[in-house]
Amino acid sequence: MLVKGKKTLFQDFYFFETLTGMIITLKEFFFGTKVTISYPEERRQYSERLRGQHYIKATNGVENCTACMLCPTVCPSECIHIEAGERQDKEKYPKTFEIDILRCCFCGMCEEACPKDAIKLSTIMEMSTSYRPIYDRAFLSEQRGNK
């Protein structure tokens, strides 16, 4: 049951309440500490564990990945596509390795599943583009990370 409160006309204007709110806003505006920054001129320091743009780690110039397919298996967004191949110096390697990055939800499960310490999420988080990018093997092989 809805009970209608009995208010006077003056109370209906909420005059004092509005005024109190205004005072708080103005106090914060002139005297409060600033919480926003002027991005991109200014940048924040992010955690080292930030999960950003992917790359495949290499040791002595050879990719760590052996195309075991654990990352496409675990990936909840189904955005990793690998084709395995064989070559002289390596029994099994990823002939193609593609990440459909717009589908990625940056959960980092691929990194966690990888038994070879190969797929990594770097701390790079500026990766917007004006087209639909597919990260291919060449792009992912750039060592852009610190992990």
């Binding site: 052996t66 195309a67 075991c68 397919m69 654990l70 298996t73 395995a84 191949g85 064989e86 029994e91 099994k92 038994p115 070879k116």
Partner: protein, 466 residues
């Protein structure tokens, strides 16, 4: 029936049955490596050792027959200790290369290491390694992964009927190899990969194609010959990646021949006709279903037709075709074809002592049951031909008459046809086939027909309504 007790559960058994099988029926899993129900028992991996009351030592379950009143403990302290030690022993030299191994995901060694082994290795010495050996076109060997269970050696000797694998040297240096390092000879080599409990012997054909856990498994029947072996088709995203044997003690036990195992490749051949097509001056051209069916009708209209039906089609399809021909082309002869030189079930016989039959299509015997006769020569006065085919039956030499093909054809085969209406092959449809024993078996659809191909019933429906 006599009874024994396994882990406190009472089970009946047939005299002579070994403990592994009896335990399986009681719902108790005894881990095994060297034991395989289709091969002789050698009891050499010792993984299956269990404790039996009144026996002082652990006994290998695979080589011990159950007896009346026997009390078996598979989980006693000693049995578990043994399992742990055997796992450690078998894994001493085993490389940690599951990420690149094709067996990974269906590997007995991997599963049992997970269930019974220890997650740590105490081995600090260098692991032994072997140089790889070429095993011919079917099998890739990686000796580093081998656990010397000798299943492969026994399989060759006892099933494939050719003693080609041997173990050379002894102890830690044992190597499983072919005699003189020759490539494998048998036409049943794919089974080596199926029975090897490790990734030591794997299929060349399937190498690195897919991880096994991503595959959807469909229990179906092989269409390679009149035996109709039980088979599993493994597919993902509408592509069949491999076929493996399924157990059927009455037909194929646990085995498949290589011809049947790799037969599926024609499904994905690039030169398969997967869109309705009609002939033109420059060969076949793709068109719409309606136009193609109209063209097919025009080809056969007013002509004395001969209907040929491949004995690789199912019973259901054959009945549909019988009805269709009776209605649309009354009086036209309907004859089956499949293997050159085999015109009736009587001419079908064993091709070798293992599985293969002479008839290279799956349903010859079913067609006989339906009263269909074999095609030998073109009846005189024939003016047009309509051919139904599932993809496996060998096309007979046809005279140059206007021809309509319904089913699965390669571009070269259908080149001279007036019209092709693309149909479904064995993995793309469900139905019944009858093997040489008269056993009715079920084909089960694993993938969808590619491109614009349609199931036969659908094609016939378009035909009668268009």
């Amino acid at each position: 029936m006599p009874k024994c007790v396994i882990d406190g559960r009472e089970v009946e058994f047939a005299p002579g049955e070994n403990l592994v099988e009896v335990a399986k029926r009681a719902g108790v899993n005894i881990p095994v490596f060297c034991y395989h129900p289709g091969l002789s028992v050698v009891a050499q991996c010792r993984m299956c050792a269990v404790e039996i009351e009144k026996m002082p030592k652990l006994q290998t379950a695979c080589s011990t027959a159950a007896t009346e009143g026997m009390a078996v403990k598979t989980q006693s302290e000693r049995a578990i200790k043994n399992q742990k030690s055997i796992m450690e022993f078998l894994l001493l030299n085993h490389p940690l290369d599951c990420p690149i191994c094709d067996k990974s995901g269906e590997c007995d060694l991997q599963d049992q290491s997970y269930d019974y082994g220890s997650p740590y290795s105490r081995m600090t010495e260098e692991k032994r390694t072997y140089i790889d050996l070429d095993m011919g076109p079917v099998i890739v060997k990686n000796m580093n992964r081998c656990i010397h269970c000798t299943r492969c050696i026994r399989y060759g000797e006892q099933i494939a009927g050719i003693h080609e694998m041997v173990a050379i040297r002894r102890g830690n240096d044992t190597e499983i190899t072919t005699i003189d390092g020759k490539p494998l000879q048998t036409a049943y080599a794919g089974n080596y990969a199926d029975i090897c409990p490790t990734g030591s012997l794997t299929l060349k054909d399937f190498r690195f194609k897919k991880r096994v856990w991503l595959l959807k498994r469909t229990a179906t029947v092989c269409e390679g010959c009149a035996r109709g072996c039980a088979m599993e088709a493994h597919a993902e995203n509408n592509i069949v990646y491999r076929c493996v044997a399924r157990e059927n003690l009455e037909v194929n036990q646990y085995w498949l021949c290589d011809e049947g195992r790799f037969n599926f490749h024609y499904l994905h051949e690039t030169d398969r006709v997967v869109e309705p097509a009609i002939s033109s001056a420059s060969g076949l051209v793709i068109t719409e279903w309606k136009a193609a069916v109209d063209a097919a009708k025009a080809t056969l209209k007013g002509r004395k037709a001969l209907a040929l039906i491949g004995s690789d089609l199912t019973q259901e399809e054959a009945k549909d075709i019988q009805e269709f021909i009776g209605k649309s082309f009354p009086g036209a002869p309907l004859l089956h074809f499949g293997t050159p030189g085999i015109h009736s079930a009587r001419e079908d016989a064993d091709e070798d002592k293992i599985l293969k039959r002479k008839s290279k299509t799956s349903n010859l015997h079913g067609f006989e049951k339906l009263g269909l006769k074999g095609f030998e020569s073109v009846p005189s006065g024939t003016e047009a031909v309509i051919v139904f085919r599932g993809g496996r039956a060998m096309l007979p030499k046809l005279p140059t008459l206007p021809t309509v093909g319904v089913g699965v054809f390669k571009k070269q085969e259908a080149d001279k046809f007036a019209t092709v209406l693309p149909g479904a092959a064995f993995a793309e449809k469900s139905g019944t086939i009858v093997n040489f024993q008269g056993r009715e078996q079920k084909l089960v659809r694993a993938i969808l027909p590619p491109g614009k191909s349609k199931a036969l019933s659908e094609i016939l429906m378009i035909w009668s309504h268009a």
